[in-house]
Symmetry: C2
Subunit: 266 residues, 2 copies
C-alpha cells in the first residue's frame, strides 16, 4: 500500500520538465496546503530531473501565495549540472498563478565525506510517552495534524492551553502517521510542520511564510525525528524561525530557517 506521504508526492510527467500534481486536502492547515508537503512535492519533481543527484542538499523556497486542494503543476528547469552537485529551479503553479518559487541544489548524501564534527548538542526532550499529542481533539484539528504523530515537550505546549511559555521555542517528536520512514523529502516536510513558533509567544493565527531555506545534511535513520523550532527576532511584523531535526541515531540531519509574518492576533 502506498503511504499517504508518497501518494501526496505522486507526479505525472509531461514534456519539458513539467509535472502534474494533485494537492490533497489532507495536508491543509491554516490558510492553505502545508508549505512543507508542497516543498517536498517540488523537491520530488526536481529529483527526477537530476537522476544522478538524488538528494536535496539545500532548498530555498519563496512563497508567493496560498495553495488549495486540487490540481497543480510543477515546472522545473535545470540551471546547472556539475559532477557532484546540480542546481535547478521550480515553480508551483495553480489556477494560472505562481504559488511557490524554488531554487535547489542537489547531490548524493551517500557520497559525502563521512567525518561528522557537529558541535551543537542534541536538545533535551522527554521521551515520547511523556509528551503530549497536538491531536487533543482530532475532530476539531486541522487536517494536517492527522498526517503526523506529533508529540510535544510538555514544557513547550502551554500555548495550546492558552498559556504560552514565552520562550519562543517548540520541541516535539515527529513521524509520519502512515508509518513511512523518514528520508530527505520527509525532512523537507518536517521543517515546516510544527505550529508557528510565535504561538509560544502568545500569538495565534496564520503566519504566512515568505521564504524558507532547508539544508539536508544526512539521510535520516528510521524512526522518530526530534524537532526543535525557535525564534529570536520578532520585529517589524516579521520573525525568523529556525528549525533543527535530529534523527533516531542522534545525528543532526536537517537545519532550516524561514522568514514569516507575525499573526495579527495576540
Amino acid at each position: 500500500m502506498t503511504s499517504e506521504f508518497d501518494a501526496a508526492l505522486a507526479l505525472t510527467p509531461r514534456e519539458g520538465g513539467v509535472y502534474d500534481a494533485v494537492l490533497d486536502h489532507g495536508w491543509h492547515i491554516g490558510g492553505g496546503i502545508n508549505g512543507g508537503i508542497l516543498l517536498a512535492t517540488m523537491a520530488e519533481a526536481i529529483r527526477r530531473e537530476l537522476p544522478t543527484k538524488p538528494d536535496p542538499l539545500v532548498v530555498s523556497a519563496h512563497y508567493l501565495g496560498p495553495s488549495s486542494a486540487g490540481p497543480a503543476e510543477v515546472r522545473t528547469r535545470v540551471v546547472r549540472e556539475g559532477g557532484t552537485v546540480g542546481t535547478a529551479e521550480a515553480t508551483l503553479v495553480q489556477d494560472g498563478a505562481d504559488k511557490i518559487a524554488v531554487l535547489a541544489t542537489y547531490g548524493d548524501l551517500e557520497r559525502l565525506d563521512g567525518e561528522v564534527r557537529t558541535s551543537v548538542e542534541p536538545f533535551e526532550i522527554p521521551p515520547p510517552e511523556e509528551c503530549f499529542s497536538a491531536d487533543l481533539n482530532p475532530a476539531a484539528s486541522p487536517p494536517l495534524m492527522g498526517r503526523f504523530d506529533m508529540l510535544f515537550d510538555p514544557a513547550s505546549v502551554g500555548w495550546a492551553l492558552g498559556q504560552p511559555s514565552g520562550s519562543g521555542e517548540i520541541r516535539a517528536w515527529l513521524r509520519l502517521k502512515d508509518g513511512r520512514d523518514p528520508d530527505p523529502l520527509v525532512l523537507l516536510t518536517m521543517v515546516d510542520s510544527l505550529p508557528p513558533v510565535v504561538f509560544d509567544l502568545g500569538y495565534t493565527g496564520w503566519a504566512p511564510t515568505l521564504e524558507l531555506t532547508a539544508h539536508v545534511r544526512a539521510r535520516p535513520a528510521p524512526g522518530w525525528l526530534k524537532v526543535r523550532a525557535w525564534t529570536t527576532n520578532v520585529a517589524g511584523g516579521l520573525f525568523e524561525e529556525d528549525c533543527e531535526v535530529w534523527d533516531s541515531s542522534g545525528r543532526l540531519v536537517a537545519q532550516s530557517r524561514q522568514l514569516a509574518m507575525v499573526p495579527r492576533r495576540r
Copy 2:
C-alpha cells in the same frame, strides 16, 4: 565622489530586465570575486525592477561557479508583485555561463510595523580600538581586505596566527573603508565578507558557498556594524555558517545562513 561600493554596483540597463555590470578585481578573494558584493550587485538590479519595494527582505542565492574580474550581466525577472512585497529572480552570467542564481523578496522596511521584540542579546566584543585588523600585512592581503575596516575580536582571530580557538566563531567590527554608511545592500555584502568561520576550527583555504540566504530586518543606522559568524555542524564535507549583523543603534539588522564546502586543507 562615488564610493567604491557604489561604483561596484554601477549597472547599465539593457532591455528586458538585463543589466551590464563590470566586476572589479578590488573585490577578489580566494577563488573569485567575493560572493557578498556579487549578491549586492544582483540585489541592486532587482531593486530597479521593483521600484515601489526598495528593500530586500530575504534573498536566497545559489552559487554555481566562481566569477572573475571583468564584464558580467545580471538577468532579472519579476515573478510576482503584490501590494506590499514583490518577488524576483536574477541570474549573474559571465562568459556565457550562469554563475549565481537568486530568488529575492522585496518590500519597504520603513513601512513595517515598528514593534521590535528581539529576544537574543547582542554579542559581546571589545571596542574597536582593542580589536585587531585583518589587514596585518596589506601588501600580502587579498584585494577584498582593502575594501573594509575589519577589526577582529582578539579572542576570535587566533586562526590568523596559526592558533585557531576551536570554537567555530568569528566576531568583528565591520565598515566600508570608503566611509559610505551601511544600507540593506551593504548588509548583503557584510554577511559574506568575514573569513570562512571554519578557519577558527583550523581549516584554511577556499570554502566555496553552495547557498546563502540573508534576511534584512531593518535599515541600519550609520557607523560600525558588529558581525558574528559561527558554525555548529561541520559534517560530510559541508558546514553551515550563520551570521548576524547588529548596527550602531543595537538593532539586529540582518541574519544569514549559508551552506559551504569545508576546505580540504587543515
